[in-house]
Assembly symmetry: C2
Homo-oligomer: 208 residues x 2
DNA sequence: TTGCCATGTTACCGACCGGTAACATCCCGT
DNA sequence: ACGGGATGTTACCGGTCGGTAACATGGCAA
């Protein structure tokens, strides 16, 4: 409609605009995160991602060689964020590996309890992308193996026998909670079950 | 190529043909199961389902009013099969609710350990179909609530306190195992972890 | 001022999607 | 022998998909 926008006097901050004037690549990744997570990767077209980022398909394809690569970048960003939160919370609990695990699970639980939450984005992507050759799949596998390793390592540092088994059990419970949110719904409180069960697991390691 | 097929002498059995001559609706549901489960619901078109069922799109749409309804029928079929297996195994373990749960989990585990397994079809559909209005969603929610109820009811019959909590925990572990198959892969033995953990849960209920 | 490079814009491509119309064919009960 | 209902076939529809070409525009640095 309006013939041209002049794009304000080239000023930054540029309030009221969509993504607060981040560089295009960052805006695209941010929009990709919102849309892919909320509607599913296969349910969102590249055009919609570009439009939500206040840009267009051409610019998107100058930063990502394909939709699959955009998806992989999105997953890398999510994985990096989760791993950063693990490190951050670890620094709050020095020499307390059990407390580290529980505090991190509670932090994840807080995010998952938001009503619009659809569980773990990495898990959802794994189910949405069965193709073994998809570039996102190595991100998925590395991230989940990493989480299991972190759980097991902390369990070991806490002196628990069966540390490997506990790592695997915590991974099952965490992913199960994310799934339960999307099947039964939030009111069944799978997060509370997860936390209570995790605390219990870390206490009574001596059983068998 | 060949001008006409004469479709063999109208005989049944008709070996070497694709689906062993079930009626079209059953063939369509069977193919839908194979394709939807193997490649994801959103990754399979109705044309592909019809072709795999040795029929065509028109016949498919005479039996199902839309793809969404076909998906819902597929999910109902899966749910009915799982519930039938629960009942069948229950009859093998009369007056042994714990044994019923464990035997059923082992049966599920046996199916999930096949290398082409992609976990629970209902769970996968829940993640693939975020739209709350999709006709399959009520099938998903009813089925998962039903499984939790069955677990809890048997735990209660076994005299366990915290029966509701155990039902929820078993549901998390089962769904977590299905997810883990699709992220880390089969070699991490999430099924073994699930079974061992379930047996442990059902034994030491007295803790708190 | 000049020139370059990132970004924006428009249009387009072939492929595939879910869904339908019109018509040919076949099997089976009567 | 006949008729009817289920099935098969072909073609088509509008829309959307991922991806690209060609060109316009803008800001910024030398």
């Amino acid at each position: 409609m309006s013939p041209r926008k002049t794009r304000a006097p080239a000023t930054r901050i540029d309030a009221a605009e969509a993504k607060a004037e981040l560089p295009p690549r960052a805006r695209i990744l941010k929009s990709a995160h919102e849309l892919f997570y909320g509607q599913g990767i296969r349910g969102v077209g590249v055009d919609a991602v570009a439009a939500a980022a206040d840009t267009n398909k051409m610019t998107l394809y100058r930063h990502f060689t394909s939709k699959d690569e955009l998806v992989a970048a999105y997953l890398r960003e999510v994985a990096a964020g989760i791993e950063a939160s693990w490190e951050r919370i670890g620094r709050l609990h020095p020499d307390d590996p059990k407390g580290h695990i529980i505090a991190w699970l509670k932090d994840m639980g807080r995010q998952m309890e938001r009503p619009e939450s659809r569980g773990c984005p990495i898990t959802n992507a794994a189910i949405e992308l069965p193709d073994e050759t998809h570039p996102g799949r190595q991100v998925i596998e590395a991230h989940k193996r990493g989480m299991r390793r972190r759980f097991a390592e902390n369990a070991r540092k806490a002196g628990l026998k069966r540390a490997e088994m506990i790592g695997e059990q915590l991974l099952l419970l965490l992913d199960g909670a994310g799934v339960s949110l999307q099947t039964i719904g939030h009111e069944s409180r799978p997060i509370a079950t997860l936390i209570r069960h995790a605390e219990w697991l870390l206490e009574m390691d001596e059983g068998k």
